[in-house]
């Protein structure tokens, strides 16, 4: 019996390798995400987006005839563990392409690894501006917004609404500080009359927001900027409403249906806005087709993280296509300056820092959504790439192609 199974397995293996070689080989893409632990639900959704991209590409006959094989890797959100697993994949399976969206620390370690061992890492979610700034690297590409561009987009919205009394709330660590700084800088530039009536940096994982909310109310703010994520976003919104806060929020991450369900009070979110490079409510045929296709294949919608991971992976595939080979150096060269016209508008990979120049979409939360039973973001409006752009000379990135 055991022999028979062995023979069967060998046969199966033979068949697989045969079909693979017939199709011109495979290109392996390892997805480094927290697939266990507290942030599993973030990692899972990113992975679903990458997997759907691979499915679409493979149905089209692969990239240059190569089938895309997605390898999920549990990064456990620990740089040391992520790089150990990645090194093993590089040596044992010859994996050269890696992506991930959670944890800039994991990202930094992966960039160092790919730089040293010859690979490529791209992100669809890591927002630390420094990754394409002072710490930029030949082997790292970012296909999402960073703290500068996302804050600039929200500053654009706040300025366009004519708000002059603005309050900022952010988590007290590098990300929150950078987001706040960028927002204030851009707002002052766009509307010198705007006044920051209060600025809060609070510990991550704050449970009681009441004192902060009272501060906002007393300041007379018309709008509140926040880059908060996770429970710091949901608790802030959830507790603000019953305390009588009327001002709306301009948020980084309100585009997340899980956050809105956790707030559990539609009234507390309706009217506030979210900013992202992808939302399912982006108008246009291309996005409509993508959303429908995704829903049909997976049974749920490509909201937020899923959409971002999908788009970034399609962008990467375009680069491989253009390179005409799976060699990392060719793909790097091909990706620099490449344009991808997808469901979220025109994306251009800038050569000077490997930061995608892309429009950022802003949408208010509306009470009735065709996608969910609860409130969700309504139709998105575009802030063009030129309005959120950080000039090459100001990114702090040195040593990449001119």
């Amino acid at each position: 019996m055991r022999k028979l199974i062995m023979v069967g397995m060998v046969l199966l293996l033979a068949v697989f390798t045969a079909t693979a070689s017939l199709a011109g080989g495979t290109i392996k893409l390892a997805v480094m995400e927290p697939l266990s632990g507290t942030f599993k639900d973030i990692g899972d959704r990113y992975l679903e987006g990458v997997q759907y991209a691979a499915q679409v590409l493979n149905e089209q006959g692969g990239i240059n005839g190569m089938q895309v094989e997605v390898i999920p890797v549990d990064s456990e959100l620990k740089p040391a563990i992520a790089t150990r697993k990645a090194t093993k994949l590089m040596i044992k399976e010859g994996v050269k392409y890696f992506c991930g969206g959670t944890g800039s620390s994991v990202g930094g370690a992966m960039v160092a690894l790919t730089g040293k061992k010859g690979g490529l890492f791209y992100t669809y979610g890591m927002a630390a501006a420094s990754m394409t700034g002072a710490k930029c690297s030949k082997t790292f590409f970012r296909a999402c917004a960073n703290t500068d561009t996302q804050s600039y987009a929200l500053a654009n919205w706040v300025a366009s609404q004519g708000f002059t009394k603005v309050f900022t709330v952010a988590q007290d660590y590098s990300f929150g500080q950078q987001a706040t700084e960028a927002f204030i800088k851009k707002l002052k530039e766009l509307n010198p009359k705007a006044e920051i009536v209060g600025k809060v940096l609070h510990p991550i994982g704050t449970k009681d927001f009441a004192p902060y909310v009272s501060q906002i109310i007393n300041s007379g703010a018309e709008v509140v900027f926040t880059s908060n994520w996770g429970s710091d976003l949901t608790l802030l919104l959830k507790q603000a409403k019953p305390l009588g806060l009327k001002a709306k929020f301009a948020c980084y991450y309100l585009n997340d249906e899980n956050a809105i369900t956790a707030v559990a009070n539609d009234e507390a979110v309706v009217g506030s806005v979210a900013a992202e490079v992808y939302m399912i409510t982006i108008p246009g045929e291309a996005n409509k087709k993508f959303v429908e296709g995704f829903k049909k294949a997976k049974g749920y919608y490509p909201t937020w993280l899923r959409g971002k991971a999908y788009l970034a992976t399609m962008f990467w595939a375009e680069a491989v296509k253009k390179a005409g080979s799976a060699k990392v150096s060719d793909v790097i060269k091909a990706w620099e300056g490449l344009t991808y016209d997808g469901p979220a508008g025109k994306w251009v990979m800038r050569a000077c820092d490997h930061q995608t120049q892309q429009p950022i979409w802003i949408a208010p939360v509306v009470a009735k959504s065709p996608y969910f039973k609860h409130a969700y973001v309504g139709e998105a409006g575009m802030v063009p790439a030129s309005k959120v752009d950080v000039p090459c000379a100001q990114t702090g990135c040195k040593g990449l192609a001119k």
């Binding site: 004192p211 608790l235 369900t261």
Partner: protein, 286 residues
């Protein structure tokens, strides 16, 4: 003036929550000398039980009663079949055991309910707001404070004025003597542990609608609960009340008075207390 009153109210509501969370922990430590690391996991489980009960029955009051009862049963089982067995081996083993239980419960919660944050909404009067001194204030925050006051009074009444309370306190001082008087001391301790678990469950249900229900909620509250019982004095009920009150107000006013220290305020308080009075405000010298 009314502004100060508002911040005072915020502090009271948060103090209420802190007391609810730490009362079970300090009870079990004071009466059994067991530092229960699984305490916060009981709290989380209480919130998740309430969440499911709320989905089934749609009645928050029912969840408020049933969830602590479920935790009480769980507490009994854990004490009877696990904790009692390692009790003879000493504190380190007890600590390790409760640590292990915390891990198991944590993984179990993620396995059953998933990792995404869950909504827990109250309806009716609890979801309402009232006008107090010209400002709107959510009823739920007042409710939390009220629950904590009632619970505190009830605990004091039982411990200091009833026969059961006297027996328990006697058993803490000299369990052999109390046993010799014909009282089943192990069963008494099982009861204490179960009540401790029920109290954490109650805290979980109460916190659910104010804070989100998610797997990280246990860790995020555990540190606060420990700070409360260290500041108040390990095992002292009165100490827990006072420490909760101080920390609640400190958090609330600290935000306006010393915003740059908001991260460190409660730890600074704890350090100060440990330097000046190492046994805690109401603690007994060991």
């Amino acid at each position: 003036m009314s502004e100060i009153a508002v911040f005072f109210l915020h502090g009271l509501a948060y103090a209420g929550l802190l007391f609810l969370v730490s009362s079970g922990l300090t009870l079990v430590f004071g009466m059994m000398n067991v530092l229960n690391f699984a305490h916060a996991s009981f709290y989380m489980l209480g919130a998740y039980f309430a969440l499911s009960l709320l989905h089934i029955t749609g009645n928050f009051w029912l969840a408020l009663i049933i969830s602590p009862l479920l935790l009480m049963a769980l507490g009994m089982v854990i004490e009877r079949f696990l904790l009692r067995k390692v009790h003879v081996l000493g504190h380190v083993h007890e600590l390790l055991l409760t640590f292990g239980i915390a891990y198991i419960l944590h993984e179990g919660v993620k396995w059953i309910w998933g990792t995404s944050p869950q909504a827990m909404a109250v309806t009716g009067i609890l979801a309402d707001t009232v006008s107090l001194m010209g400002i709107t204030y959510p009823v739920y925050r007042l409710f939390i404070f009220a629950v904590s006051v009632i619970l505190g009074l009830l605990m004091a009444l039982v411990l200091f004025k009833t026969r059961i309370g006297i027996t328990v306190r006697a058993a803490v001082d000299d369990s052999a003597m109390v046993g010799a008087l014909g009282i089943n001391v192990p069963r008494l301790f099982m009861g204490v542990f179960a009540v401790g678990a029920a109290l954490s469950g109650l805290a979980g249900v109460t916190a659910g609608p104010l804070l989100s229900v998610f797997p990280g909620m246990a860790e995020s509250i555990l540190i606060d609960a420990f700070v409360v019982i260290v500041v108040g004095g390990m095992g002292s009920l009165g100490g827990a009340v006072l420490a909760s009150f101080i920390i609640g107000q400190l958090q609330s006013f600290g935000v306006i008075l010393f915003p740059e220290f908001s991260l460190a305020l409660i730890y600074m308080l704890m350090a100060l207390v440990l330097v000046v009075k190492p046994e805690g405000l109401f603690g007994e010298k060991q």
